[in-house]
Symmetry: C2
Subunit: 360 residues, 2 copies
């Protein structure tokens, strides 16, 4: 009797041979069972059962089909950030929901380390990339370009040359600073996100100017524009670079409040930074908004639940995710470029400065 290999898992060709039909027919049995005669279909199915074939391997289909039905979400940060960072979490939620609705999967791709990045993105089996660009966009973009797959960059400021979905960072930052200025604040400090992969602390104008982290730069630009418009010297507001972690934010605040005439208003470039700043302020017996007003950026859900609730620049996070997915799926070759509006949400963390509060 013919020996049936059980060592290597059975293939469609095996099934076809055993059932005495062509590979094409066997394929049809699994993909378009309707078009094959019942008698034949049963024979093939029985053959499959006999040799332990449990349906076509997607790896095979992939090649001819072309489409993978999955989109890759790539970041330079550790994969875990997708689940821990409040902003990324909300963004991923909407990306996941939109993918879900379209029946396609999500692949998380990490590019934390240089060489690994190249490989991970080069070998990702996906139909397109959504790039989380907050922390270093170039490598992600370069790899996407190389793969020649549709992609869209998130949080990559106004780089006009690549497909992206972004918000109006300058307008958002202006609204935040204008709000504080209009409340009467005159002493500002800016807690910024990164300007490059390394370094934190007081940022020089050159460093700000030269950064490729466009969102970070634009938000600083917006803050300064608004200050200037309200007759405040932008250079009086120091810009401290942080890594959105406790250590660097605290270090910045230590330095800020060690100076004479410390600020009454803090512009935080993200809600996470604002949360940490509020922790620091509380620990140093500085009341918010009594002693210090603070405005965040992003509008993550947690921002409504702090005490006091955080005044912040609300991004349409869910909309961004949704559009990103659509941009990949609907890709018709043209470059997608969208800039969404943000909205200042005034909550409890901002108030007139103390010296003004009593003289309205």
């Amino acid at each position: 009797m013919a020996s049936i290999k059980t060592e290597k898992s059975a293939t469609l060709a095996d099934v076809a041979r055993v059932a005495g039909v062509s590979k094409g027919t066997a394929s049809n049995v699994f993909n378009r069972p309707g078009i094959v005669r019942e008698e034949v279909r049963e024979r093939v199915l029985k053959a499959a059962a006999t040799i332990g074939y449990h349906g076509p391997d997607p790896k095979g289909r992939l090649l001819s089909a072309g489409k993978v039905n999955a989109i890759g979400v790539a970041t330079m940060q550790p994969l875990a950030t997708f689940f821990t960072d409040p902003y990324e979490r909300v963004l991923m939620t909407s990306i996941a929901e939109e993918c879900d609705a379209n029946g396609i999967g999500v692949s998380l791709i990490c590019a934390a380390s240089g060489e690994q990045l190249a490989w991970n993105m080069r070998s990702a089996v996906v139909d397109g990339f959504i790039l989380f660009c907050l922390h270093g966009a170039e490598p992600l973009i370069a790899q996407s370009l190389q793969r020649q797959l549709p992609f869209v960059a998130l949080d990559h400021g106004d780089d006009k040359s690549i497909p992206s979905i972004d918000i109006d960072n300058i307008a958002g930052a202006r609204a935040a600073a204008a709000h504080l200025a209009e409340l009467g604040h005159r002493q500002f400090a800016i807690l910024a996100m990164e300007f490059s992969e390394d370094g934190f602390g007081l940022a020089t104008p050159e460093r700000i100017e030269e950064t490729t982290y466009l969102d970070t730069r634009d938000r600083v630009t917006g803050y300064r524009q608004a200050l200037k418009e309200h007759g405040i010297d932008p250079n009086s507001a120091p810009v401290f670079e942080t890594w959105s972690d406790r250590e660097t934010v605290y270090a910045a605040l230590d330095e800020i409040y060690a100076a004479p005439s410390p600020p009454t208003a803090i512009l935080a470039q993200s809600d996470v930074i604002a949360f940490l700043a509020m922790d620091w302020l509380r620990q140093h017996a500085l009341a918010v908004p009594g002693d210090v007003s603070i405005v965040g950026f992003d509008g993550v859900p947690e921002s409504a639940k702090t005490k006091p609730p955080l005044t912040t620049v609300q991004q349409p996070i869910a909309e961004i995710g949704r559009r990103a997915v659509r941009a990949i799926l609907d890709n018709r070759g043209e470059t997608v470029r969208e800039t969404l509006d943000v909205e200042l949400v005034v909550r409890g963390s901002t108030a007139p400065p103390r010296d003004r509060a009593t003289t309205p």
Copy 2:
């Protein structure tokens, strides 16, 4: 001159032809550049550049390589749950970290709807599956078996027949109930997770017995064992099934506290349920732990931050994720079965009942 197709993206074979070498050599140029003579290598690279070939397509490699370098995480719930549910988030964080460390990707696979499930799992291009079984395990397991890929079920109680990593639910639940009993509580209510896809509210013994949601069942079993051991009739503690959402938890509590002699102790099968219960109690002016003591389950990070902090059964969540990934990656064909220990963490949400508090 020979027309170089620019319509369809170039293939390795095209490069080889243009460079005048064999496909094998061209392949080597990209994968093991070391073994090909420099002159040839440059010629191939130049040819590639000329016709716009940017490196091998992973879809091709896939077939011969076999390995995808990605593991799939499958669930019956919406994909977004991975990012919103506190427990799943922590679990995913550690899964992501472990994958990261091994340079492999994570694919999120949703199986919310029946037919879609089959297809999504059938067509997922991954090396193995991690199954989130809290909400319906069978379909996930069936599909994994069919794909004949290594897989491991999480949160699927003590089903001995499949590879799984789980915790000792009975011991954990016993510890929770014992703790409350030892504090002197005599009136209990149990807020359970689902027993099946549908239904909520007071659960009959039959429903509990027949469920295939093993974790849910085991926790009930553990609770009841401990009650019995402390001389309390297990049947005096009603079991309310909830969907871990505000609506069903509130409905359960409405019913529980409408009864005469309401409980002084609540056993919640998850921290999320406990959080919601605490909200309800606060709204109904019932003090925790003054009027009511409550114990959660899971030990998500948020449990330490509620007011009062929640006494709960701490799962080694990070360890579970890590082992799940290892189980897939190290798969040597043998079935992995691990049961991890849990630990009762006593915090502020439990105290002796009021009638006992003054008579120690």
